[in-house]
Amino acid sequence: MMTRSRLAFAIAAILGLAGAGLAYAHGDGDPSAAIDLVVNSPEGEVGEDEGLAAWENIYAVVSHPRCSNCHVDDSNTPMWSGPSYGEARPHGMNINAGASRIGAESLPCGTCHIQSTAPNDHPHAAPHAGLTWMLAPVEFAWFGKDSADVCRQIRDPERNGGRDGAGLVEHIVHDAQIKAFITWGFNPGGGREPAPGTMQAHLDDMVMWTAAGMPCPGE
């Protein structure tokens, strides 16, 4: 049985590895340096139809396996999917990220998924990104949910990390600066299918949707 102090030790050890290994990835001319995105504010009001169209693009991204596989429920089991094994299935190796969502209770995600902004060049290797690898918080779980459900979830500050529209836009911009998980989803490497579109297009859609007042399908 794991005690609270042991869990605290484990979490500290895991997070203690965060931040190292990045310095080399930000040198001059380094291909893995941060991505610069542009926030293209719309001119004039954005109508509901435009907002819903932008949402459908956003849903195509967030429901893609590169994103949704780690937005799972309190089973805390990440999902796997890829061209060689069809539909999503639970992560191999009996992986469970625990209530900590970083595997602190047993096998840390970071044991295999190191923190690095270097390209993911090798097929089948554990992917890495510029953040400690983890599941999204459980209140962000949307794996398998339909467009309307995920939409209502993402605009709800109780279930999106306390973000308003500007916060959702900033979330994408910040992710690109540190090459975290959204950025990885568009360029996962290793032969993995990327999320549809581009990071800039995803940001543009988020700007449009939030400017339209975050309309959701079926309302």
């Binding site: 049985m1 794991m2 042991r6 869990l7 030790f9 484990a10 050890a13 895991i14 203690g16 590895l17 190292a20 290994g21 310095a23 080399y24 190796m93 009996n94 992986i95 469970n96 602190a104 209770e105 047993s106 096998l107 840390p108 970071g110 044991t111 295999c112 998924h113 190191i114 923190q115 690095s116 270097a118 090798h122 097929p123 089948h124 290797a125 554990a126 890495h128």
Partner: protein, 153 residues
């Protein structure tokens, strides 16, 4: 580049993105850590970085710089084996032995965070460490024995 390995400062001539495993084996001659798959699918190369088990084929020397690196050689030796190593010997876990240094490093991490693991705890923490000889039942027994030794039971 300077690395702190098993309590000693060692110098390696390596690019920052060199896998730590390469530096350990080829530059520092610490060959107890094994190359298995090179893509974090087998666990044979497991070492500790600041106490946490990591796959050294994925960790770069840049990630390891400035941190305490512990390999199977540093976990314990013949004169003073770590309780995990002692339990492995007592249970005669190894068959071919190739994966076992990684298994022991992973087990040592598990016992740092969980002093009395159940079968399910062991399976969950150790399932990323593969053994082609199928020594899993003995690994489970040895982890429990090591846990008892560490608890002083």
């Amino acid at each position: 580049m300077k690395l702190t390995v098993n309590g000693e400062t060692r110098t390696v001539d390596a690019e920052p993105d060199t896998p730590l495993l390469w530096a350990l084996r080829d530059d520092l001659d610490l060959t107890g850590t094994k190359y298995g798959c090179g893509i974090a699918q087998c666990g044979a190369c497991t070492v500790h970085l600041d106490g946490q088990a990591v796959r050294s084929c994925q960790a770069t020397v840049a990630l390891a710089e400035g941190r305490e690196i512990t390999t199977i050689e540093g976990l314990g030796g013949a004169d003073a084996p770590h309780p995990v190593q002692a339990a492995w010997i007592e249970k005669q876990v190894a068959q071919c032995g190739y994966c076992q240094s990684g298994q022991m490093m992973q087990a040592a991490w598990l016992l740092e965070i969980n002093p009395d693991p159940s079968d399910a705890d062991i399976d969950r923490a150790m399932a990323g460490n593969l053994c082609r000889c199928g020594t899993y039942p003995l690994i489970r027994e040895a982890v429990k024995l090591a846990a008892a030794k560490m608890r002083g039971a």
